[in-house]
Each structure stands twice: as C-alpha cells, then as structure tokens.
Symmetry: C2
Subunit: 276 residues, 2 copies
C-alpha cells in the first residue's frame, strides 16, 4: 500500500513534458458536478493536510528525521497555492518555507549551492523550497547564461549534493507542477486584471513565457538527469488546483507514513514525578 499513489506520479525514465497532459485528473470523483467534485478534492486534501500536520508533530518531537520538499514549476504553476493548501495546517514550529529569488550580491560571490545548503532542514524539521538550486540549471540554461558543459557540471554537482543530503539523513521529495501554456495565459491575465493579484505580476514572467518550449525541454532533461530513488521527481498535472493539491498531499502523507515516525519513548522517571 505504501507509496501506492506516489508511484503514479513518479517521473518516467524517458520524460517529455510536452507529451504529458497537464489537465489529467488522476483522482476521479464519483460526483459528475464539477463544483462538487472540486469540493470533494478539497475535503480529501484537508484530511491529508491534517494527517501531514500530525506526522510533522512527531517528526519535530522525535528530532531524528529531516524532510526536504522541493517545488518547481513555471510561473503561476501554483507553488504558493500548494504551500497554503497542503502545508497550511502545519505547526510552524519545526516547519518552514524558503523562497529562492534571484541571488543577491553575497550569494553570487559564492557557489550556487552555498545559499541552498544553508537552508536545508535540521533534524526534526520539514522544509519546503519554493524554487531551489534547480533554477541554476533551468533559467540559466534557457537564457544562455551557462553553456552546455557548465550545465552538465552543475547537474553532476546537484546529484552529488542531493546524495550527500540523503546519506546524512534527509528525505527528499521533488515536485514539478505541470501546467499547460494555455493555463498559464489565463492565470497571467488574471494577475493583470484582478487588482488583488496585480502584485504577483512580474513583467519578466513574459520573457520566460516566450521561451515556453525551451523551458519544457530543459525541465524534462534536468529532471531525467537528477531523478533518483533517494531524491525522486514527481510530475504533478497542475491545471486543476484541487487535483494538484490532492496529489501532493497524498505523496507527502505516504512518505511520512513510510518513515515510521514515533515520539521518543517516555522517560520512565516521568511516572514518578508528582506535580504538586
């Protein structure tokens, strides 16, 4: 049973994102009414989010395991929404999100993994990366800031880095939120037209959009080069926000379940203590 659902989303050995359906609905509702199906997805996700929160409490109490969750995807693919929807129930004690924006001067003066390594989870922590070191082989490659040889070197670094993290006790889950170009168009238009969403619109998103196909190819190659048993990639069809959250919640909950978390054994002395 364990990781039963995760396997459905695991990146295949030969990945071509352009042939992968971003609208795929993996979780079929009995309900044919669209709004009701959506509501059902949300309820299921909430139940899983609460389960994730319970597990994370044990993770924090046990202080043995480290869980790193990496979210990647094109602009508007729903990284922020995933964090709210799937991890919104979590106790912030021992859990946090790190958003990697364009590197600052100090970060640029170091190797590109320097700022990333600083932010990996400690024992007992669950950390979510909103973007990550994968930007250093994606936008950099598509915009031509690094050449093919440098990209290959970095892919090797990333494999080494994630193996080091894994072998020193970090469980890693990597999610690609897969939306279609049409879906992005709608979402960007919403950011432009809805005053409450204006602040999320960044004109440079349009430049990346012009390179849509190159990004899809780059993502496909990067994920194939960095997928492993200890740091697997999951391709999440993300045109539907509720299906996206439900998929990620399932995969995270399954992984936490498989980690056989347990609160540390109670100190036997506790039973002798009288609170006066």
């Amino acid at each position: 049973m364990i990781n039963h659902i995760a396997e459905k989303f695991r990146a295949p050995a030969h990945l071509q994102l352009k042939d992968s359906d971003a609208s795929l609905r993996v979780f079929i509702s009995q309900n044919e009414n669209k709004a009701e199906a959506k509501a059902a997805d949300k309820l299921s996700t909430l139940a899983l989010a609460e389960k994730i929160s319970d597990y994370q409490n044990i993770l924090y109490g046990q202080k043995q395991h480290k869980l790193l969750i990496i979210l990647q995807g094109m602009d508007t693919s729903g990284k922020d929404g995933t964090i709210r929807g799937v991890f919104g129930q979590i106790n912030p004690l021992g859990a946090h999100t790190v958003a990697f924006a364009a590197p600052n001067t100090l970060e640029l003066a170091h190797d590109y993994l320097w700022r990333v390594h600083q932010k990996v989870p400690a024992k007992g922590e669950l950390v979510i990366f909103n973007r990550s070191h994968y930007e250093d082989v994606l936008i950099t490659q598509v915009r031509g800031w690094i050449d093919q040889a440098e990209c290959e070197r970095r892919l090797a670094h990333i494999r080494d880095f994630e193996r080091i993290l894994s072998e020193t006790g970090t469980v890693i889950l990597k999610f690609f939120l897969h939306i279609s170009k049409d879906e992005q168009k709608q979402r960007l238009e919403e950011r432009l037209s809805d005053p409450d969403k204006n602040w999320k619109f960044d004109p440079s998103d349009l430049i990346d959009r012009q390179h849509w196909d190159e990004f899809q190819t780059a993502y496909s190659e990067v994920m194939m080069a960095t997928d492993s048993q200890h740091a697997p990639w999951y391709i999440i069809p993300a045109n539907s926000k509720t299906q996206r959250n439900l998929a990620i919640a399932h995969i995270v909950a399954e992984k936490l379940e498989s980690m056989k978390l347990a609160y540390p054994p109670a100190n036997p002395e506790l039973s002798k203590i009288k609170v006066l």
Copy 2:
C-alpha cells in the same frame, strides 16, 4: 619555476606518515649556526608573507578568485603558529580564519558539511580553515564514533564537496602539519609547565595522544583518499617551526603567483575626473 617547491611537499600516492620524517629540513641554510639558520628561515618567511599579503590585496580588489587553505595536524602541530607566521601580514579585509571546534547542537542537527560550506570563501576572499571537515573522518574514525562504511561514504562526500567548490571557482590547498610523537610530548609538557601556555592545554589532547598510531594511519588513508589535482594535500615536516612556516609560505606564494591575479582594469573615465 611555478609550484616548483610545492611539488616537493605534495603527498605521495602511497603515503605512510609513520615512515615520513617530521624533522626533515628541506630548506638548507648556508649557516651552520642553528640560531642563525632559524633567523634566516624567519626572514625568508617574512619576505614571502609580505608577498602573500600583496597578492591577497589584488585577490580582494579583483573579486574573481577564492582561495581556501585547510590546516590539519595533531594537537600542538602548529596550526595557530602557521596562521601567525605565514598569514600575519595579511589585510584582514577579505581574509579570515575559521576554527572548527566540536560541533554545537545546531550544527549536529545538520549534515557535517553544513557548517563548513557556510564558511567557504566568497569571490575575492582568502579563508584559512583551522581544522575542517577532515575531523569528521579522523577523530570520529579513531574514536569509533563512525564505522568503516560510514567513513567511506564521508570520504566520497568530501571528494564531491571539494570538486563542487573547485568547479565553482575555489582554489584549495590542504596542509598536514607533521610532527613526531616525541615533539608533541615536548610541546605538551611546555603547555603544562609554562603558565603563559597553560590555557592551551586540553586534557582530551592526551586521549588523542594515546591513539597516536591510529591517528597516523587514519590521516595517511584519509589524505590518500582525498588528494587530487584540484585539492592537493601537502605534507609539511613540522618539528621545526621555522621550516614549517617557510614551506607553507612558499607553497601559498607559488599558488597565488600561478593564479595570475591582476587588479581590474581602471575605468577609462577615471582619467577625466578632476579632484577639485
């Protein structure tokens, strides 16, 4: 000419520290009087230290290169003395030393390279590690805190980590300060008898001393496993403090010379500026 002296100290492919003479005097003075020979060593070292300081100024102005110097050795082998003697002339702007003591609680909650990666040099910096990630495969191994399999895993991590640093622009030099067991005895006794040196005496040094041979073997194996063109080990006979400093000063100066450092080209606009 370049790296001419460094090659004399480079760790051999088959290294057995127990057969390596810690009293070897590589730099022969014309002067037969011991005190005068020592003074000559010191003068030569000072000249090189000034050269290193000049190079480091350019390194700092150019902000392109990163230089990482790792000092390892048994207790009393002279790591602090090397820093004073070889790097004492350096402008602290852009150069600093990091001493890695036993890890604290936060550091222990992360992988053992976490605290180390944070301290690597930025562009334009020269950083000296007084002890380093090598402790995580030395004392840990000798004291039996990690088993052989974990030690092998860590040696692979360290090779990967140093290759990542190197491929992202860090020049790495690693020095083992090689003293004999007799020499350590004298130096520890001095720490016990000289009130000005009492503070440096740590009773746990005596435990490591009891494991002298195991440390020599562990060091030999660890250095063979982690020596590479991009992160070479130098074995410095260190029973003589002046010879030790002279050797390290030569190697560092040679490396800096080979880096072909240059101040960034002056802005042509400068010539048009009038200071009124």
